[in-house]
Amino acid sequence: MWALFLGQRRMLTMQTSTYQLPQFAFRTPPELGLKPSQQKRYPVVVVGGGLGGLTMACDLAHRGVEVLLIDEDDTVGVRGASSRGICYAQKSLEIFQRLGTYSRIARKGIEWSIGKTLAGNEIVYSFDLAAQSSHNVSEQPPFINLQQFYIEWFLVDRLAQLPAADVRWKTQVTRVTQNADRVLLDLECPDGAYQIEASWLVDASGIRSPIREGFGLQTNPATGEDRWCISDVRFKHKPPIERWTWVEAPFNENRAVWQHLMADDVWRLDYQMAPDSDPEYVSRTDVVSDRLRRQFGADIEFELVWVGPYSYRSHVIETMRLSRVFFLGDSAHVMSPFGARGGNSAIQDADNLGWKLAMVLKNTAPESLLDSYHAERHFAAQQNVSITNGTMRFLTPQTAMQRVFRDATIALAKRFEFAQKLVNTGRLSSPTEYPASPLHCGVGAGLNIANCALTVAGQKTNLVDQVARCGNKLVVLCLLPADQASVLAQLISHTDSVECHLLSATDWYDPQGYLAERFGISAGLIGLLRPDLHSAGTIATADLSQVLTRFSLKKDR
């Protein structure tokens, strides 16, 4: 059997591991000693303590929403060591800045921005993300590589500091039901079975989510024929700290290879295998070692940290919201790992849902705001699957003609710069933009807004921190005091769900002028900035009242 890459709870082989993972304490849940009538209803329960679930819980707790996270295990990663996501994109890093884990990630992880694609011994494409304007506005780097379990570990530590969050380890969800006003969960833990109630449930329980299956939701799954073998290796040899991808590697029978550094001096080497190869054979220590020697030389000294064969799978759930239940991360969507879109999109799912749930739970926004979660993140999932499928077609041509065009592309890329753009060894995760969102209010709606530098009250700060200080609010950005006065007048009849800031030295000073330019704000125009740092559009100042009903409830008179 070839293990599936993402969300796999137990990988097939785990030959060696040099990681020490934390073990979290199980505590007897208070509900076990209480009658159902004495129990409280949790505003939000999150099931699954992986990347998506932990980000979700942390996000909600930061927003002042009481949240209970349930996980069947008592550690991070996939039982023991794991080899899952390694690349965290700028948008994710900005989210972790807001959640308070970014500085640990930056200290532990490997920052990189240069990527090279090789065919044979020739570089056919290279890029430096740090030199691209789309990446150099943010306070965060384009990418940091770090083993996924560290990201999860830092989030668990952060949750322990947040009074609104509670984590229950070693707890299984055995049944979920819902009615018009609540969700009921049957749970099983080492001390027995119990029930809890929640107003909202977020299912982040992974690729084989029993909650999704229990509700009978379809995912339209597809499995790839492509076979790969990960070898995480520590060695004395120091390749450049760059992302290298071979579309045709001479040392791997002209199949693809990935080479990328993670924390702890561990390199992720991922080899494309022949379609008919035997997973037991390709992951045998001697076979893995021979492959490494073919790549790095006969005298290379190395230590195998983790080896795992896998194949690809994709699915997208039919709906990411079923009344009071939201589906997030692998439970909702799975794609092949090209471009690091799986983990990063789970983090963005959480970022998308957190502020919406918080506003609805705090009664400042209408419940219809929650509909946009499916609209925006389902679109993102489909886009990510389509993009990763494109990479898969390039790396594993399915027909003779696909092979002809790939060969032509590689041949031309060696001679002409234009063809390098057609070489596709993965399109790196970038923030999804939502041009067709139901929250579309005006020009540029859905655009991602980078974490630019700001100066506020003479202090250097950044957009992420300032928006976080606003709480769960839509931020209106304007350039002129006259526009601000008009905005404030229009807000009087609404709940406390919108905050207005002036892009000037007296309020939010934006030294690069990035925000005004990105939104296209000028006299008489205002930019609507969502708490997840996406634009809701740039509109005429006088039109604010018309669009406010999507984000704000009218005050009772």
Binding site: V404, F405, D407, A408, T409, A411, L412, F416, F418, A419, L422
Partner: protein, 59 residues
């Protein structure tokens, strides 16, 4: 997408195209055509025009 004549010397181009294929095996010709399509596509550039050409070339 242009459908009115735009090739300056149609016969010269056509002859060069045919000649380039002389002596090539079917698979070499196929590879040649693929490279040529990609080179020409880069001259066009415009996404809408390219997609219209792909659609118009369908049998």
């Amino acid at each position: 997408m242009l459908t009115t004549p735009n090739i300056q010397q149609p016969d010269v181009f056509y002859q060069a195209l045919i000649q380039a294929h002389q002596g090539l095996s079917p698979s070499e010709s196929e590879a040649f055509n693929a490279r040529l399509i990609l080179l020409l596509a880069n001259q066009v550039g415009d996404s809408n025009v390219l997609l219209s050409c792909v659609a118009a070339a369908k049998p």
